[in-house]
Amino acid sequence: MKSSFVKRLTLAASLMLIGGSAAAQVKIAYIDPLSGPFANVGDGGLKGFKEAAEILVNQKGGIMGQKLEFVGFDNKGSPQESQIQLKAAIDQGFRFITQGNGSGAAHSLIDAVNKWNARNPDKTVLFFNYAAVDPTLTNEKCSFWHFRFDANTDMKMEAITSFMENDKKIKKVFIIGQDYAHGHQVARAAKEMLARKRKDIKIVGEDLHPIGRVKDFAPYVAKIKASGADTVITGNWGNDLSLLVKAAKDAGLKTRFFTYYAGGLGTPQAMGASGENQVLQLTEWHMNVPTKSTEKFALDFNKKYPGLYFYYLRVNTMTEMVAKAMNTAKSTDPKAVALALEDMRFPAENGEVWMRKSDHQLMQPLFISVFSKQDGKTVKHDSEGTGYGWKTLASISQRDSQLPTSCIMERP
C-alpha cells in the first residue's frame, strides 16, 4: 500500500516537472476553474488569454524575443485548492499568476501571494486579477503584488448612476440582488450614489434573495410591480439573472434592468427574447463598440472555438499591458514588472486606460448598452447567436468612473 502510494506521488511530481521544464518563455499561471460547474467560464478565459498572447504579443515580437505563454491550473473553483495550485505553479517556476472567477479565490490568492513574498523575498510572485470585482481588493486589502484589470463593483455603480443621473424619466428604483457580499455591495453602492446624485429618485424597494436557490422569481416580480418601480438595479448573474428577466416578461413587467453581467457566458442565450429592450448592461466593451482590430479578433475567436463567444476585452488589454511592462522594464522580475505597470497609460481598444499607482486599479472607459434586435447597423453583431445584440446607449470615460481609494499600500 505504502509503496504504491509513493509511486503515485512520484508520478504526480514528475508530471508537474515535465510541465515545468519547457523552453525559455515567459509563463503566466492561469488559476481558475477548469472542471466542475464553472469550467466553461474558466475555460473560455484561458482560451482568450492563449489567443491574446499568440496574436497580440508573440506575433509582434514577443517579450524581449521570448514567447508569452499562459498555462492552466485547475483550482476547481475553491479558495483552498487555489492555494495548492499556487504552490504547484511556484514549484514549476512560475512568477506570475492570473485569476478572475470568484472573489473568494482572489482573496485567498492575494493573501497567499503576500505571505509568500514576505517569506521568500528572492522568489516573489505577481498576481494579475482580470475579473474579481470585490472593491476591498483595491481598498482595505490592496497589495503591491496585485493588479486589477477590471472595474470594481463600486466603479461600475458609479458609471451606472452617472447614466441614471441624466435620465430624468427615472423616478422610482427597485434594487434586487443575491444575498451575499457582491449583492450587498451593489445595493449599498446604488443607494449611496443615487442619494448623492439624484435626491428625487425614490428607492421603492430592496430585496435580497439567497444565491442560486430561487426557482421562480414570479413573487419577486409581483413585488417589483406592486412597488411601481420604473427601473431595477441588480447585481445578479447566471441563472438568478436569466430567471428574473424571464419572470418579468411573463408577468408583463415593463421596467428597465440595469445589470453587471447580462452579456456574460450563457446569459444572453438563457434570456433570449425576454430581455429585449429591457435589459441594460455595463461593460468595458461589447461586440458593437467600434474598435481598430478587436472586432476581427473576436470573430476569428468565435470561429475558432464554436460554442465560445469572445467576451473579455480586458483579457487582451491585460496581456498587452503586461507585455509592454516587461518590455519597458527589460526584465521579467515581478517587482520590476510591477513598478513598470504602475501609472502606465495605455491605448487600449476601448480607449485610453490608466493603471493607478495608489491602489493598482485599472481605470478604463465603460459602456452602457441595451439588449436589442440585431439590425446590421448599430447592432451589427448579435450575442451568442440569439439574434439580439448590445446597442450602446452611453459611454463613460475612464475619468468619470474613478473613485477615491482607501488603500494604504505596503511597498517593498
Partner: protein, 312 residues
C-alpha cells in the same frame, strides 16, 4: 388584494410543480424504501430530453416522449444498478443514487455543455392568458397547472381503479404486504421506479422551459423536494400534495412580506437588540430557506410529518 391573488396563483403553480416531483419520490420511497437522491436528476433529464426532441420535431411530441424516455432510463437504472445495490442495504442504495446524481450532472455537462440551453416555450403557449389587475398571467403557467392537475387525476385513477394501483396502495401503508401477495416484486419495483422517474421527467419537460434548462437545475430543486417529502410525511401522497402547495405558497407569500425579524418578534412581544445582523433580516430575505426552517419545526413538533402514517 391584487397582490394576494397573484401570489396565490404563483404559489399554486410552483406547488403543483413541486408535487409532480415529490409524488414520484414518495411512490418510490413508499414501495421500495429507497430515498432516490437522484430524483431531481431525472427531472433535469426530462428537461434536456424535451429540449433535444423539441429541436428535432417540436415541443408537443417531446411532452409525451421525453417522460417515457426518462422512465425507461429510470427502469434501466433500477434493473442494472439499484437491484444490485439493494443487496447491500439501504445505505448502499442511497449512496448509489447519490453517485448517480453526480454522474448524471457530469454527463449532461458533457453532452449539452455547462451553460443553459435554449429550450423555449412553444409559440402557441407564449402569451397572456388573462390580465388580472394589470398583471398578466401567462398561458404557459395555466398550461403547467393543467398538466399537473391532469397528472394528479391520472395518478389518482391509477391508484384507485387498477390492479397494480391497488397493490401499490397496499404497499404504501403496509410495505410487507406486497411480498405476501405473491406478486413479481422485482418487476413491480422496476415499474414503480420507472413510473416515479417518468413523473419527474414530466415535471422537467414543463418546468425546463418555464424556468431555465441548465446543469445546475437538479441541484437547485433536489433538496427542496426532500423537504416536501419530510414535511408531508414519509409515504403519504396526500401529505406530499399538501406540503407541496404549502411550501409553494409559503415561498411566494413570504417574498411579499416586508417585515423584519425584529418586527416578527415585536409581534409576540419580544424586543430584539437593535442593529444585529439577525435583527435586520427581512422575511423576504429568508423566503427560500423558510422550507428548511419549516422542516426543522415539523421534526421537532410532529416527527411523522403532516400526514405521515409511519414513524420512520
Amino acid at each position: 388584494m391584487e397582490f394576494v391573488v397573484i401570489s396565490l396563483l404563483n404559489g399554486i403553480t410552483y406547488g403543483l410543480l413541486l408535487f409532480m416531483l415529490s409524488s414520484g419520490l414518495t411512490l418510490i420511497f413508499s414501495m421500495m424504501g429507497i430515498l432516490n437522491f437522484a430524483h431531481a436528476s431525472f427531472y433535469m433529464l426530462g428537461a434536456y430530453f424535451a429540449y433535444q426532441i423539441s429541436t428535432w420535431v417540436g415541443f408537443w411530441p417531446g411532452l409525451l416522449v421525453a417522460p417515457l424516455l426518462v422512465g425507461a432510463v429510470g427502469a434501466a437504472v433500477e434493473r442494472y444498478g439499484l437491484r444490485r445495490a439493494h443487496r447491500f442495504g439501504h445505505v448502499a442504495e442511497l449512496l448509489f443514487t447519490f453517485g448517480l446524481a453526480f454522474l448524471v450532472e457530469e454527463i449532461v455537462h458533457l453532452i449539452w455543455g455547462k451553460v443553459a440551453v435554449d429550450y423555449r416555450i412553444p409559440l402557441e403557449l407564449d402569451g397572456t392568458l388573462f390580465t388580472l389587475f394589470d398583471t398578466s398571467f401567462p398561458i404557459y403557467k395555466g398550461f403547467m397547472m393543467l398538466v399537473s392537475v391532469g397528472m394528479l387525476v391520472a395518478l389518482y385513477m391509477l391508484l384507485t381503479r387498477t390492479r397494480i394501483g391497488l397493490i401499490i396502495q397496499a404497499a404504501l401503508t403496509k410495505p410487507d404486504m406486497v411480498e405476501a401477495l405473491g406478486h413479481n416484486v422485482p418487476r413491480i419495483f422496476m415499474l414503480v421506479f420507472g413510473g416515479g422517474t417518468a413523473l419527474a421527467g414530466l415535471a422537467g419537460v414543463i418546468g425546463g422551459n418555464a424556468f431555465v434548462t441548465e446543469p445546475g437545475m437538479a441541484a437547485a430543486v433536489g433538496s427542496i423536494v426532500f423537504v416536501v417529502v419530510v414535511v408531508g410525511g414519509l409515504g403519504s401522497l396526500t401529505g406530499a400534495f399538501v406540503a407541496s402547495l404549502l411550501i409553494g405558497c409559503i415561498q411566494t407569500f413570504s417574498v411579499a412580506m416586508t417585515l423584519s425579524i425584529t418586527d416578527v418578534f415585536a409581534l409576540i412581544g419580544v424586543a430584539l437588540p437593535e442593529g444585529s445582523q439577525v435583527a435586520r433580516l427581512t422575511i423576504t430575505q429568508l423566503a427560500p430557506v423558510l422550507p428548511y426552517v419549516l422542516m426543522v419545526a415539523i421534526l421537532i413538533f410532529r416527527p411523522r410529518g403532516l400526514m405521515g402514517a409511519r414513524e420512520s
